[in-house]
């Protein structure tokens, strides 16, 4: 059988996986919404959460499309589409494809034509990413039990514990922005973008609190992110020349 990495069969497989992912998401969305109402949370607050998250997600989702585009030159569209819709992230999928391609002596710049090489890459992309899906059902309840114990013992420390986890994550990403500063002014671009985004968020905060523009709360993160991305497109050519 002739192999085509963009065959209808592969697109049908991708569509089935996408339907499953959406079904799971809708299931948890509806369940959480109903529970929120049941415990007395305001409908408006829940709807605002959905709306603001939806708006915020669009730009990062488009960046995932870029990942699909990158991988599609070598693997066609369906496999990167599946992998980046389920568990995957471009930071994993590209190294996984590269590692297998190198083992098979293939170049990533040509579209794959050997079905055995394609399936080898599909297996590596899949097997390399599944441990989280095995560990979560085994350990999540125990991990949460541990967190609850901490909270029950000392609720203030329990709150600080959770906040510290978030701050640890934010710090790692903020630190990463400083990676290239030693390479000259060009290396400062991510820092300028970060500061601009922070400034925009600060302005949004002032508009919300001082000017009582309450509606802005829903879109503040998305607005500061998009404006900072636009800012990056303006300052990059100016700095690089």
């Amino acid at each position: 059988m002739n192999f085509n990495p963009n065959s209808s069969f592969l697109f049908i497989l991708a569509a089935l996986v996408i339907v499953f992912v959406v079904a799971q998401s809708v299931f948890f969305l509806v369940r959480a919404y109903r529970h929120g109402i049941a415990i007395g949370m305001e409908r408006a607050k829940l709807q605002k959460t959905v709306l603001s998250t939806a708006v915020f997600t669009i730009a990062p989702a488009v960046s995932i499309l870029l990942g699909i585009l990158t991988l599609s030159k070598f693997l066609g569209i369906p496999l990167p589409w599946i992998r980046l819709s389920v568990v995957g992230a471009i930071t994993y999928e590209l190294p996984a494809a590269t590692s297998t391609a190198q083992a098979l002596g293939l170049s990533l710049s040509d579209t794959i034509t050997d079905p055995k090489a394609y399936t080898a890459i599909a297996w590596v992309m899949t097997l390399g990413i599944i441990p989280g899906m095995i560990i979560i059902p085994l350990c999540l309840k125990k991990i949460q039990g541990g967190i609850m114990k901490i909270k029950n013992k000392d609720s203030k420390w329990g709150d600080l514990f959770m906040t510290s986890l978030f701050l640890g994550m934010i710090s790692a990403f903020l630190g990463m922005v400083f990676t290239d500063v030693r390479s000259g002014l060009q290396g400062w671009i991510p820092i300028f973008v970060l500061l601009f985004s922070a400034l925009m968020m600060g302005i949004c905060g002032i508009l919300i609190k001082v000017c009582k523009m309450k509606w802005l709360e829903t879109y503040a993160l998305a607005i500061s992110m998009i404006l900072a991305m636009i800012f990056a497109t303006i300052i990059t050519p100016v700095i690089i020349g």
Binding site: F3, S25, T57, I64, L65, S99, V124, P190, S197
Partner: protein, 218 residues
């Protein structure tokens, strides 16, 4: 926290995630069967050796780091839909902050699950739409003028997120932030391993918070 709701979340979550695991493994199996093209075991092994030692370790660490942050429903969803660090965790964090609910509380569980479910649906739809329109979108997405925007998506995202969180918890932020800045300045090559450094940051942040808490500084 309502334990009945939470227990059911674990029950449903396990069913969904194990089904997802089955589907995920079925994809390469179905391709092999359809094309009668089973790969050489050595090729898969060699490919896996290049990525598994790091990514399996990261996966274990991520469960222990993000599991408590994302809550029950959110974790079962996020660990299926992926893109945790660049979309799901920031979405959950920002949603809980906006809604004024605490992570780990019952309201926090609801808001976090809503945020992660919404971002999963929107991401999946945007990607699906993008794939359908890929030939039209390719020149735009590949445009050199837009490249800096996508290259800087993480600073653009975390700048806005950080200003909210750090301004409210600046004492707690100081130690992990300084540590990470100095670390990345000294070892820039670590930027490709930021996934591993998230739990490192969390541990440092926790240790500093514990000391400050014991000394009544916070």
């Amino acid at each position: 926290m309502n334990t009945a709701y939470n227990d059911k979340s674990h029950f449903y979550g396990r069913i969904w995630i194990l089904t997802a695991l089955f589907i995920l493994l079925s994809v390469p199996a179905a391709i092999c069967l359809y094309y009668q093209a089973w790969p050489a075991g050595s090729a898969v092994l060699k490919g896996l050796l290049g990525v598994a030692p790091i990514y399996w370790t990261v996966a274990v660490i991520e469960v222990f780091t993000y599991g408590p942050m994302l809550g029950t429903g959110g974790s079962y969803l996020a660990f299926v839909t992926g893109n945790i660090t660049n979309i799901k965790a920031p979405a959950a964090l920002s949603a809980m902050e906006n809604a004024g609910v605490k992570p780990g509380s019952e309201e926090g569980e609801v808001v976090s699950t809503l945020a992660i479910a919404t971002s999963s649906i929107v991401t999946t739809l945007v990607i699906a739409l993008g794939v359908l329109l890929l030939s039209a979108l390719t020149p735009v997405l590949n445009s050199p003028a837009l490249k800096p925007a996508f290259d800087n998506i993480l600073p653009a995202l975390f700048g806005g997120l950080a200003v909210v969180y750090i301004s409210k918890n600046w004492k707690l932020s100081l130690t992990p932030l300084l540590f990470m800045i100095v670390l990345f300045l000294l070892v820039p090559s670590l930027s490709s391993s930021v996934g591993i450094l998230v739990p490192v940051g969390a541990l440092i942040s926790l240790a500093a918070a514990r000391i400050m808490y014991k000394k009544n500084w916070i």
